[in-house]
């Protein structure tokens, strides 16, 4: 385990990629957790985190000062990503008997974008992991059929990565416009 917090009441645990399977199995089988639902599986690309134009003090184009984030009443500031790794794979679990949710996060380095697959534990992981591979290019070790799901096989790159331009088109037919 790398870090844990409960910002805004969402219990969050960050674990090392090596211990993901172990942690997930514990969450599923331990009577204290009983996380029988894998509700959601996604990823976040932290490459541009805090570096977006609007996040800085002034506007790049006009030099107009940008006011700082508002001071909303908050118990404590959000601790932020636990490591400097580019990606984080985010799992949301839900326990039906205990009515409890847990978020599990796994940092993934850009140089080795690979984590263990959770398909043996939850069937729902199958399509979710395919989507993360499609959108972020993170591989899942032990996935039965890791291929693109939303984009077509001819598509190059992973569109939800922060360095993929939002309107870079790769049409199958017709002009690029």
């Amino acid at each position: 385990m790398l870090a844990a917090h409960a910002w805004r009441g969402d219990e969050t645990v960050t674990v090392r990629p090596e211990s993901l399977l172990e942690a997930a199995r514990l969450l599923k089988e331990d009577p204290e957790f009983q996380m029988n639902f894998l509700m959601d599986l996604s990823a976040v690309d932290y490459q541009a985190f805090g570096k977006t134009l609007q996040g800085q003090g002034a506007h790049a184009n006009t030099g107009i000062a940008i006011r700082q984030p508002m001071n909303v009443p908050t118990d404590e500031p959000w601790p932020g990503p636990a490591t400097t790794a580019r990606f984080e794979v985010v799992y949301h679990f839900f326990s039906l008997p205990l009515k409890r949710r847990i978020r599990l996060k796994v940092p993934v380095e850009e140089s080795k974008p690979e984590v263990d697959s959770l398909v043996p534990l939850w069937a729902a992981a199958n399509w979710f992991e395919r989507e993360v591979w499609d959108m972020y290019g993170i591989r899942f070790r032990g996935h039965p059929d890791l291929k693109r799901i939303l984009m077509y096989p001819e598509f190059e790159g992973h569109p939800l990565r922060k360095d993929y331009p939002v309107n870079k088109r790769q049409p199958l037919i017709g002009p690029v416009n």
Partner: protein, 167 residues
């Protein structure tokens, strides 16, 4: 000498135009949100059958108007082109909703910026989604177009001073 035959054919052509415009067999290529308004137009409240277009054919071979309803993504584009190619002449295409007209506000890597980049379009019905009244207006404009083609008249264009919503 002044060809009664000519007279007859032109009248016949008009009659065919009349028959065609009131018996549109449409192929609804429904992909997205606009499909809900397409359903609303087709059902009792707005009743597209009053205009002779109430009979959807789900085979491109038997349809003569292709209603492209909803966003077309790059993944879907080859399918749309294939369907269009499979339709027999005469055929018309209606772009239903702003995504099919221009791509709408989905200006990103996944979507096609207007179906007219891959197939010719006869009538554009913008709106996100267009109201059923708007759809019926577009349908009537398509009927005018069909009739004009058979009458040998120039195809009606919108009066630029009017700035009509449907072309």
């Amino acid at each position: 000498m002044f060809g009664s035959q000519n007279f007859l054919t032109s009248k016949l052509e008009s009659a065919i135009g009349w028959a065609r415009k009131y018996s549109i067999f449409q192929y609804p290529f429904v992909t997205a949100c606009c499909g809900m308004e397409y359903m609303a137009t087709a059902c009792s409240h707005y009743d597209v059958d009053r205009f002779g277009a109430g009979f959807p054919r789900f085979s491109p071979r038997q349809a003569d108007v292709l209603f492209v309803v909803g966003t077309i993504s790059h993944k879907m584009a080859p399918v749309l082109k294939k369907i269009y190619d499979q339709m027999t002449e005469p055929k018309w295409v209606v772009a239903f909703g702003v995504c099919t007209c221009t791509g709408g506000f989905y200006d990103n890597y996944a979507t096609l910026m207007g179906i007219d980049t891959i197939i010719p379009v006869d009538v554009y019905i913008p709106g996100c989604p267009p109201r059923p009244e708007n759809v019926l207006d577009g349908l009537i404009k398509l009927q005018d177009r069909i009739q004009a083609q058979h009458d040998g008249k120039p195809i009606p264009r919108p009066d630029p001073s009017e700035r009509a919503f449907t072309v």
